[in-house]
């Protein structure tokens, strides 16, 4: 089997969607030449400028026009390079895309995808490093996808484009160039289905996006150095949330550590933790722990950046703490 990068995998998913459905269009900043991470490579050449639109740096327009296009017959995929840029279009995401179907009594669906890169990568600074999935997940009407590897990235993007509701598709910068085995054929992975990326009996690591990769690294270290068998549940989709897979795993291991790059305070991990406690309170062997960033904007200086944002070693530490509790 061949290996390709996360970015290339998303190109394959987009091209397949565009070949299948002529209403699929791609619009965004700097996509004609391939995008910052190669995630649009070759699309302009194959599909032409009517379907691959280089947009002005007008975030509200990019996402607002996607809403307008989506309710009048197109299936737009809108890209905003860095997730911080969605802040210039929050009205279009939150007040328009998310609410149209409900507010208008089910008259329309809004089939659009918002693609944005998130997470830290080599000192990109406070406005190009953050993770906002908690904002988007909080808002009813949005689906939120955060894949951790190229194979999932391809299948999930294919489903996101085919989905009739607005989907926020978050692609972590640290893993976008990372390669993995990806089937050549066209396939979909349903939204709302977590995967058990590694089986184990001692503790459940609940993660998504880049932290699912760090959780897998941590699980290997835990086994080799501490004889702890960790199970890794990769959520893949935050909304709809596959809480059943989480509860099944935690009911078995009785310990859970939730891992994300975003800030711990008010983060998505709080939702998972709360649901675990609501369903499994009496069965837990230890309190649910969270691994995430402390509450500060992402700093520039490399040691500060590393201090703030967790990787595998922080996951290992948290697991060792929970094993002693």
């Amino acid at each position: 089997m061949r290996s390709i990068s996360f970015g290339q995998a998303t190109v394959e998913a987009t091209a397949a969607a565009m070949r299948e459905d002529e209403t699929v269009v791609v619009a965004g900043e700097d996509i004609g030449w391939g995008g910052n991470f190669g995630q649009f490579n070759g699309l302009l050449e194959e599909f032409g400028p009517k379907r691959v639109l280089d947009m002005p740096i007008s975030e509200a327009l990019i996402l607002g026009s996607a809403v307008g296009a989506a309710v009048t017959g197109l299936r737009p995929v809108a890209s905003l390079s860095f997730v911080e840029f969605t802040m210039g279009a929050m009205d279009e995401i939150i007040n328009q895309a998310a609410k149209f179907r409900y507010m208008f009594g089910g008259q329309v669906s809004v089939p659009m995808v918002v693609r944005a890169s998130d997470g830290v990568l080599r000192s990109s600074g406070a406005q190009h490093s953050e993770s906002f999935e908690a904002f988007f997940s909080h808002m009813p009407g949005l689906k939120v996808v955060a894949p951790s590897n190229p194979a999932d990235a391809k299948g999930l993007l294919r489903s996101a484009i085919a989905d009739d509701d607005p989907v926020i598709y978050l692609e972590n910068k640290k893993i976008t160039f990372r390669k993995g085995v990806v089937p050549e054929e066209d396939y979909r992975i349903a939204l709302g289905e977590a995967s058990v990326a590694r089986s184990g009996s001692d503790v459940s690591l609940i993660a998504y996006s880049v932290m699912a990769q760090h959780a897998l690294e941590a699980a290997q270290i835990l086994l080799e150095e501490h004889s702890v068998e960790a199970e890794v549940v990769d959520l893949r989709t935050l909304v709809p949330l596959d809480i059943e897979s989480v509860l099944t795993s935690v009911a078995k291991t009785r310990r859970a550590v939730i891992c994300h790059e975003a800030w711990t305070f008010g983060g998505f991990g709080a939702e998972i933790s709360s649901q675990i406690n609501e369903h499994l309170f009496g069965e837990l062997a230890a309190p649910v722990l969270r691994v995430g960033a402390r509450s500060a904007p992402i700093p520039f200086s490399p040691p500060l950046e590393r201090e703030l944002v967790p990787e595998a070693s922080e996951v290992v530490e948290a697991v060792l703490r929970t094993m002693k509790l």
Binding site: V25, K50, R51, L53, M55, P56, S58, A60, L61, L63, G64, S65, A66, V67, G68, A69, A70, V71, T72, G73, L74, P76, D91, E92, N95, Q96, F100, R101, Y102, M103, F104, G105, G106, Q107, V108, S109, P140, G141, K143, D163, D164, D165, G192, V239, P240, L241
Partner: protein, 327 residues
């Protein structure tokens, strides 16, 4: 389709629409005062000639984006009156099944892409509808209604630039009713002639007396024909005046009674009525009879809304997503 105002029936139909908007909203004012409808109501009274004049040139498959002051646009574009009234009451028979309310009425089957509670939000949505038309190679057009309050929003800049670059079939209709909520346009806007804004986008711009129905028809007919022909967007600035407050119940401390009385002398409904009588297109008795039948329609809509049920409370999370009922 482009309306022919040499035709008597076309004139009568325009009059009926003008009066229907007026009668519908005056009824809402009365109902609101009696506490019969929840939420806020923003009326379009005084501005009716703009929606009716522009929409007279549209087909059913053309699109409009609207504002928080959207009943007039919706009625002019052909929304079902009972569904509109029931929506304002929050009933399940409402056009949005009671999920939207006065500020969020929409009828996608009539190309009404929604009244919108966010000022100038419709501009970028209109741009997307225009892009959709161009991509599908259709000859529909989009009318983007917005106000002098909206013209200072960044979305207007982003949308106008893009529509001009791509020559999208969008007509921007800025209804200058002189007040951004409670604040005079004069305190907030860099130019007194709002049509000057068009030049920044290389976009043709034209000003029109928004209280003169036939002038609105004429100006918008040309802009719509250009958009349909693929030559690109136009900015139409229609000068008008909001007869009521920002919302029903607004004490209006920011303007004088004299100013309102002065502007009410140019009531678009009365101006058009005078025109019809003077030109021999209708006599006063005939118009009186039109008004009576419209008042009956409005009363029937109220009865329909009052007799309708509220939505079942267990349906509260219906319509969030297309294919899942709970996140």
């Amino acid at each position: 389709m482009a309306a022919d105002f040499n035709d008597m029936e076309t004139n009568r139909e325009a009059y009926r629409k003008l009066f229907l908007i007026r009668a519908f909203e005056e009824k809402l004012e009365a109902l609101f005062a009696k506490g019969k409808i929840p939420g806020f109501v923003h009326t379009y009274i005084g501005q009716e000639a703009i929606a009716v004049g522009v929409c007279a040139n549209l087909r059913t498959d053309d699109y409009v984006t609207s504002t928080h002051r959207g009943h007039g646009h919706a009625i002019a574009k052909g929304i079902d009156l009972n569904g509109l009234m029931a929506e304002v009451f929050g009933k399940v028979t409402g056009i949005c099944k009671g999920r939207g309310g006065s500020m969020h009425v929409a009828d996608f089957s009539k190309g009404i892409l929604g009244a919108n509670g966010i000022v100038a939000a419709g501009t970028v949505i209109a741009a997307g509808a225009g892009l959709s038309i161009q991509t599908r190679q259709e000859d529909q057009v989009v009318i983007c209604f917005f106000g002098d309050g909206g013209i200072n929003k960044g979305t207007v800049h982003e949308a106008m630039n893009f529509c001009s670059v791509k020559k999208l079939p969008v007509v921007f209709v800025c209804e200058n009713n002189q007040y951004a909520q409670f604040t005079s346009r004069k305190l907030t806007t860099s130019v007194s002639d709002l049509s000057l804004r068009g030049a920044a986008y290389g976009m043709p711009a034209v000003s029109v007396d928004g209280n003169d129905l036939l002038k609105v028809v004429e100006v918008s007919k040309a802009a719509i024909a250009d958009a349909r022909a693929g030559t690109g967007p136009t900015l139409v600035v229609a000068d008008t005046y909001r007869f009521g407050g920002h919302y029903v119940g607004d004490p209006q401390a920011y303007r004088s009674k004299e100013e309102v009385a002065e502007r009410r002398r140019r009531d678009p409904l009365l101006l058009f009525e005078d025109h019809l009588v003077q030109q021999g297109l209708a006599d006063k008795e005939a118009l009186e009879s039109e008004r009576e039948s419209i008042l009956e329609l409005v009363d029937k809509a109220v009865a329909f809304a009052e007799q309708s049920e509220y939505p079942e409370v267990r349906s509260v999370t219906d319509y969030v997503f297309t294919d899942v009922t709970e996140a």
